[in-house]
């Protein structure tokens, strides 16, 4: 589980909660538009060490078994994963 995009994304003034409580993990926009370069994983070179998963500030990398899977909706393209990778298996393009 993680916060995810909801269908209802706009609120009229009357719908805005009067107290300051609202459902946790309620997302209405993606961050993909922030990106000018995109990380691509070379699965041949990847050894599944999880370093990219651990160091991603946005948490967009998840490990499926030994393979990192990226959520490009929320990747901002910072390139930390590419720098941290001990096998240089992530290329920024």
């Amino acid at each position: 589980m993680k916060p995810y995009i909801r269908e209802k994304s706009t609120f009229t003034f009357d719908e805005i909660p009067e107290d300051t409580c609202f459902e946790a993990g309620y997302l209405v926009t993606v961050n993909a538009g922030w990106r000018s370069v995109t990380p691509y994983v070379d699965t041949e070179k990847c050894i599944g060490c999880s370093q990219c998963y651990l160091y991603c500030p946005d948490g967009v990398i998840s490990m499926e078994g030994k393979t990192p899977v990226l959520d490009y909706d929320f990747c901002k393209g910072c390139g930390i994963c590419s720098k941290i990778c001990p096998r240089h298996a992530i290329e920024m393009r």
Binding site: P3, E23, Y26, V28, L54, P57, C78, I80, K83
Partner: protein, 297 residues
Amino acid sequence: MNASALDKNEYFYGHKACAGCGGSLAVRAALKVLGERAVAVLPAGCMSAVGFNFPQLCFGNNAIISMFAGTASMLTGVEAGLRRYARRKGYKDFHAVGFAGDGGTADIGIQALSGAIDRGDDILYICYDNEAYMNTGIQKSGLTPYGARTTTTPAGANIHGNIRPKKNMFEIVAAHDIPYAATATVGYINDFINKVEKASKIRGTKYIHVIAPCPTGWGIPVSDTVEVAREIADCGLWYLAEYENGEYRLTRDPKEFTSAEAYLRRQGRFKHLTDEDIATIIDSRDRKWERIRKEWK
């Protein structure tokens, strides 16, 4: 704790922090250790500004914004409520955790923090230290290091940035005889994760001070956050330590420091420093380590 033992869920996701933000990495990693029953308290600062933009609410667990000075006092209340609620529901794995910036900790929230430690409240206070008030545009805080350029400590011909040393927050907290305090950096995330996990099992007040570089404020490329966060510990301008049972302990004692000059020169906020300024910084580093190595072990 290794990567596979870590909670697969993400509790800080879709946030609007700048690309390569060190603070958001600290928050994300800590919440993965503490799990969904952690209630997070965030004062004014980048992490609350990027996490709560109604209707974009990026915390997967319960999280609340406190007033600037009141992180620790709100944690006290949250913990009291959680304790009662958890007893009624029959569970024990809850945590009240705070994430405050360096300004929110060392300057504005220090009184509330001191009070909470004094009362011995069962809370975990994490200070993500990006070494200035970043959310309002890079003003000097008590944790801005000597020589750093900020908008309130500009670098000119006569004065070369901040003229005051970094407040020694870790030892100030430890001097309260707190049950557990630690320093960390997002550059060594496993060490940080282990310290959060250790703190989560200790009763009483816990404090973790984690260095979290800010590419915008430090003047570094967004891809270099983790590298710089490693370098600060490798070159001796930061130290990894714990305070427990009344004793200080280094958790990492580098045999040889890497170049502090290289660490400083790669950052925009230190670009103006002269060779003498750098010698002053290295000298104070060496004196600090001499004391640490003599007094701690």
